[in-house]
């Protein structure tokens, strides 16, 4: 029977960061036997920082990624705050970092929705790949494309004003920040805020209407029950910068709650599987089979009790109404949740820009030196954990980083399998549109695997269909 099996490889997966490969094993009737997402995750940066002085960490760890460097910058800075004994940084420092973080969330969510997700929802999953891309969106929906670009640019300008540079900034340092927000910088950002808020509201409406109007199709698409994890504020509010860990089950019951960041390892473990380079995190009390969970915008809206900005809270209530207040386990609902967070981030940005603390001059505090610390932040793609041990000579001797995409490893594999079963299984011929369904499910998680060089003349998209004995049946480049 083995020789009648067929293995299909989608490599690399387009429009996700880095290098991903999907393999689907089909039997003689084209029924899906196995579907997996293989991610070539490079964990070398944990070794890279060993031996380096701790104060370099917030700058060094960003260099792996050009997409979400601010999240690594801030998670490392939060850990290093504790290393230098800064239990509580100054209001100016915290608000500068929050502004930087909301800028990052805003630009990242806008980029994902308008650039990566919109081609699928505007043209359809089966549309011609020649038009199902950002250039196609620009041609047919120029106003929307311009909004996406300008929102991304606005978020980048916030990052530049708070971190010093748009990519790989230096604004957060152990114990605080190295600059405040100049009046000129503030006013430049304020001049655009009304327009950005309007566009954010519009983006929520697009995502909401798309999801509710296509609910019958989207609800089962790559969907499954799962646990959900994020940090939340002490009062249960959505919290992206600094909170306590909460995990819930598919029904919304709490698995653990209000767990200190420093104790994450007592609650979360990582499993290794022989077919993947990337680890599979799970909740210890449930074990690897039952304990895997999702992170990111969808789980954050599931775990939080409310959102502390009025328009996003109103949008959250509409979102929750779809599932009668219960956790939403629809993979495609990530997009709607992401846009609610986009609106929340813009509301927070607007609030912060009116706060005079941003022009304060108390930037750094220090206290009693520690040797071990954990910094956790909600990155655009989900929970990001940085854990460091620093010796008496100020050198980092151990680092463990669990990135959002690693948390989502099991769920993304589950989504791939579900979609393969739903849309490929038993079909006489596998079309490009069918393969794109797999990518649509992966893209909902907005995975970021930006660990590869991008120099010109490198890899195109390759699809291979191989017999189980390794014989190449078909090979094609897309598009």
């Amino acid at each position: 029977m083995a020789t009648s099996l067929k293995r299909m490889i989608i490599e690399p997966v387009t429009r996700i960061e880095g290098h991903g490969k999907v393999s689907i094993l089909l039997d003689e009737k084209n029924a899906v036997r196995e579907a997996r997402l293989h991610i070539v995750e490079f964990r070398g940066f944990e070794r890279f920082v060993q031996g380096r002085p701790y104060w370099e960490a917030p700058v060094l760890v960003q260099r792996l990624c050009g997409i979400c460097p601010v999240s690594h910058h801030l998670a490392a800075a939060k850990a290093m705050d504790l290393i230098v004994g800064a239990e509580h940084i100054t209001p100016t420092a915290e608000k500068m970092r929050r502004l930087m973080h909301y800028g990052q969330i805003f630009q990242s969510h806008a980029l994902h929705f308008f650039h990566l997700c919109s081609p699928d929802i505007l043209f359809g999953f089966d549309a011609d790949p020649a038009i199902r891309n950002i250039v196609g969106v620009a041609r047919k929906f120029p106003q929307l494309a311009v909004q996406g670009i300008m929102m991304r640019k606005y978020g980048q300008e916030i990052i530049k004003a708070t971190a010093g540079k748009k990519v790989h900034g230096t604004g957060a340092i152990p114990g605080g920040v190295n600059k405040n927000l100049a009046i000129k910088e503030r006013d430049a950002l304020l001049s655009e805020q009304t327009k950005m808020l309007d566009w954010a509201r519009g983006a929520v409406a697009i995502a909401r209407d798309y999801t509710t109007e296509h609910l019958k199709t989207l609800a089962p698409f790559g969907s499954f029950d799962s646990n959900h994890l994020s940090i939340v504020r002490k009062d249960g509010a959505l919290e992206l910068y600094d909170g306590l860990l909460r995990a819930i089950n598919p029904q919304g019951d709490k698995i653990f709650d209000m767990v200190s960041n420093q104790r994450y390892a007592e609650y979360i473990a990582e499993e290794v599987k022989d077919w993947s380079y990337m680890k599979f995190p799970f909740i210890r009390s449930l074990g690897p089979e039952q304990g895997w969970y999702r992170v990111g915008p969808l789980p954050r809206l599931n775990t939080c009790d409310f959102i502390d900005t009025p328009e996003a809270e109103k949008a959250r209530k509409e979102f929750k109404a779809v599932t009668n207040g219960k956790p939403n386990n629809m993979t495609m609902a990530y997009h709607w949740a992401r846009m609610i967070e986009l609106l929340h981030a813009m509301e927070k940005i607007s609030e912060l820009l009116h706060d005079p603390d941003l022009q304060g001059n108390e930037l750094v505090v220090k206290g009693e030196r520690r040797e071990e610390a954990v910094g956790i932040i909600e990155a655009p793609r989900g929970t990001l954990i940085h854990h460091y041990v620093v010796n008496k000579n100020d050198q980092i001797v151990r680092a463990n980083l669990i990135v959002s995409t690693t948390h989502n490893n099991s769920p993304m594999n589950m989504a791939v399998r579900k979609v393969a079963e739903q849309h490929l299984s038993g079909k006489p011929q596998i079309t490009e549109g069918m393969l794109n369904h797999i990518e649509v499910a992966i893209r909902a998680y907005d995975p970021c695997l930006s660990c590869a060089t991008h120099s010109l003349g490198t890899m195109p998209l390759l699809v291979e269909i191989v017999n189980s004995d390794g014989t190449l049946v078909e090979r094609r480049l897309r598009p």
Binding site: V135, I149, M150, R443, H454, S455, L456
Partner: protein, 148 residues
């Protein structure tokens, strides 16, 4: 005139684009605006729209030594899909600039020959550095003569 260098300096010669930008900045060329980025993204279409001419500078493992300069034209067809998602090509940037902002800056790709793309090596290889300096000389002279 905008020179937009892109690449990851933490991966040896992948950082040739940002390196040539740094080199050109040292020369204080009147009218030259520079941007150094990790990779090309949609917002660079807006940056390009503000200029009459743009040079995209990147490393290239296969181009001729020490570098090549080619015109970049907006293409109606989708360029070959890259393996990273948010990454766009110079052709796509130019296309978006024309479609969305109705601007068509003269556009060029400066491809500088690179040799090693190892992760977490922050210096250029000596041969790549030599190529980059030659490219900077060439571009500086072209700009001074108004030939781009």
């Amino acid at each position: 005139m905008l020179v937009l260098g892109f690449g990851n300096p933490a991966r040896r010669d992948d950082g040739l684009g940002p390196a040539v930008v740094t080199e050109l900045e040292k020369r204080r060329i009147p009218g030259l605006v520079t941007i150094s980025e990790y990779q090309l993204a949609v917002e660079h279409a807006r940056d390009a729209a503000d200029h009459d001419a743009i040079i995209f500078a990147d490393s290239h493992p296969q181009c001729r030594e020490p570098f090549e300069l080619h015109p970049v034209a907006p293409s109606d067809s989708e360029p070959q899909t890259c393996f990273t998602s948010h990454v766009l090509t110079p052709e796509q940037i130019v296309k978006l600039t024309a479609d969305l902002f109705n601007r068509r800056p003269r556009s060029y790709l400066l491809a500088i020959k690179g040799y090693s793309f190892e992760p977490f090596e922050e210096c250029l290889t000596p041969r790549a550095k030599a190529n980059m300096l030659k490219a900077a000389d060439f571009i500086a002279e072209k700009i001074r003569r108004g030939e781009v």
